[in-house]
């Protein structure tokens, strides 16, 4: 396999006396969907927070494209081309999809109007429509408030936004948790398309069939440590559950 895109080695994170991560390792390669699974309290969320700059590990090493890095804020991660889709849709429901896509990164008109902060809505809308189409996100119109969309479309917009700005890697924390079957399929399609564009996707999910259907690789966390690594296509739900509960462990995984 090629060089890892993002590699965490022996991360330790404790909150007071609670050890959330006890030497956890994690690897993501370019252009793959890697799922991060584990039981509640296994340290998934903490690990993702450390990898996306929201929290800083107490010990351990982070390597990005082979170089040691420290992520002291989410902005640091963003600068490296790492984006995160949050579990609770961080979108502005009253703004339209294009406005949400460009939120915080608005394009301004060129010339004097731009100096006054006048936005280039047309250009943003055009790019947004193009981007949504490339990802196969179908929206009946590009200028209705997000709140008027279905749950799946809303989540797709949130995913599309992160993907639009992520050049290297996207973390998705339970992106399908609140969705119905059809909507879930749609978001999973988007995830595959993102991977096909060469961006690595780290999927955090509780849904084993979903994990198996979309992942190239799967890493399992248990009690703050990586306990197993699997190749997506030739794994079964039993193996995953075994690794999560501790019935099965791989010596070389940690």
């Amino acid at each position: 396999m090629s060089e890892p895109l993002l590699e965490a080695r022996n991360l330790v994170k404790h909150y007071g006396s609670v050890e959330a991560l006890r030497g956890a390792s994690f690897t993501a390669y370019p252009g793959e969907v890697v799922s991060l699974i584990g039981d509640n309290g296994a340290g998934k969320s903490t690990l993702v927070k450390c990898l996306s700059g929201v929290e800083q590990p107490n010990d351990g090493e982070l390597l990005f494209e082979g170089e040691p890095v420290t992520l002291s804020s989410p902005t640091d991660a963003r600068d490296l081309g790492i984006e995160t889709v949050f579990q609770d849709l961080a979108v502005a429901p009253d703004l339209d999809p294009a406005a949400n896509l460009y939120l915080g990164r608005e394009l301004k008109r060129s010339g004097p109007l731009g100096w006054f902060g006048v936005l280039d809505k047309k250009e943003m809308r055009r790019h947004a429509a193009e981007h949504f189409r490339n990802l196969g996100v179908s929206l009946q119109s590009i200028d209705v408030p997000i709140a008027a969309l279905s749950g799946g479309q809303r989540q797709s917009v949130a995913v599309a936004r992160s993907v639009a700005w992520a050049s290297k890697l996207v973390f998705m924390d339970e992106p399908t948790a609140a969705l119905g079957v059809v909507q879930r399929e749609r978001v999973l399609d988007v995830i595959k398309r993102v991977r096909d564009q060469g961006i690595a996707v780290v999927l955090i999910s509780h849904n084993m069939p979903e994990v198996l259907s979309v992942s190239d690789r799967i890493e399992v966390l248990r009690l703050g440590r990586r306990v197993a690594r699997f190749k997506g296509p030739d794994t079964t739900v039993e193996e995953l559950v075994g690794a999560m509960t501790g019935a099965l462990s791989q010596e070389d995984a940690a």
């Binding site: 429901p93 939120l103 193009e130 590009i142």
Partner: protein, 342 residues
């Protein structure tokens, strides 16, 4: 080939203008306003469709309109500003006292330099109160209702302290004759100033990044913060804007009423809020327009003028207003609920 295809797709995705207009609360409240004028006009065409009625109604409403522009920004961020009327009074008193002090106690014949100094004091006082509100709300995270309830009382008290509880007279004639009662092509200058503020306010809200962030912060503060928008800074600026506009409104009131009155503005805050909400701006934040607020400002004034013309007891006006207001909010709420259920 691909370029043309993309362009056609993105434009055909847009909702047609008519459909968008029909979905806007502002349009419906505009229809209500036109209906009101039509009904009163049909009953008393002589009194309604005459220049004096139009001029006085517009001029009297100008001060409130300037307050409502600031209030629209505040309410879109899902905040509230109860202090606008008190800040208006404080700014008026401070400006009048400054002008008098600069003219040895009587500013009636003062020159333009003194008037300009008064304007700066009015805007500065408004800015100071607005900044105080914004800082307490955005940085100290105290609810806007409480902060501005506090500054509502504090600004009134401070205004009373400034001149021992009495009005300040001796307003420069230069100011009252031009700004207060001057006209340009038949339109009162008060109206022109308010119109300019409204147009700039609407343009900034609709076309600039400042406007976009105002909607974003009101719609989902956490989402705005996560994409790197400085929510604290933005909220502070919005309350600062409301304060500055209150200061300007105070200066306009000075010019129109020829005195810095410490009474008569106790319900300005509620009138501005009512106008804004009536105009389709949602108290839940994220939705609203300046155009709507313009309609909302004129509905109560048309109601009270019209009821006098048709010789209905004008005490019915607040009751009619209350009904329209509650219906407007109920309409907004049920529309949101229907939308969010999907």
């Amino acid at each position: 080939m691909s370029t043309t295809e993309k362009t056609t797709l993105s434009t055909s995705d847009e909702t047609p203008l008519l459909k968008r207009l029909a979905g806007a609360n502002a349009l419906w409240i505009g229809v209500v306003l036109v209906l009101l004028i039509a009904v009163f006009g049909a009953l008393r065409p002589d009194a309604v469709f005459n220049q004096v009625t139009f001029q006085t109604t517009l001029a009297e409403t100008s001060v409130l309109l300037v307050l409502a522009v600031g209030m629209t920004y505040v309410i879109i961020t899902s905040g509230i500003d109860l202090s606008v009327g008190s800040v208006l009074v404080f700014s008026g008193v401070a400006a009048a006292q400054t002008m008098n002090a600069l003219s040895d106690g009587d500013a009636t014949k003062a020159g333009w330099d003194v008037v300009f100094a008064g304007l700066l004091v009015a805007l500065g006082s408004g800015a100071a109160w607005g900044f105080l509100n914004g800082t307490l709300i955005a940085r100290a995270k105290i609810p806007p209702l409480i902060v501005t309830l506090g500054s509502f009382g504090a600004a009134t008290g401070a205004a009373l302290l400034l001149n021992n509880g009495s009005n300040v007279g001796n307003i420069p004639e230069n100011l009252t004759d031009t700004v207060g009662f001057g006209t340009y092509l038949g339109i009162p200058n008060m109206v022109l100033i308010a119109a300019a503020v409204t147009i700039v306010g609407a343009l900034v809200l609709n076309t600039t990044r400042f406007g976009r962030y105002t909607y974003a912060v009101g719609s989902n503060e956490e989402a705005a913060r996560r994409v790197g928008i400085s929510v604290t800074g933005h909220l502070t600026r919005v309350y600062l804007l409301a304060g500055v506009l209150s200061g300007l409104a105070g200066f306009m009131a000075l010019a129109y009423y020829r005195t810095a009155s410490v009474t008569g503005h106790e319900t300005d805050n509620l009138n501005a809020i009512a106008a804004t909400v009536l105009g389709g701006t949602s108290v839940f934040g994220g939705v609203g327009s300046i155009v709507g607020s313009v309609f909302g400002v004129f509905i109560p004034s048309v109601l009270s003028k019209g009821l006098v013309f048709v010789e209905v007891n004008k005490f019915w006006q607040p009751i009619a207003m209350a009904i329209v207001l509650v219906v407007a909010v109920w309409f907004d709420q049920s529309r949101r609920r229907a939308r969010n259920q999907r």
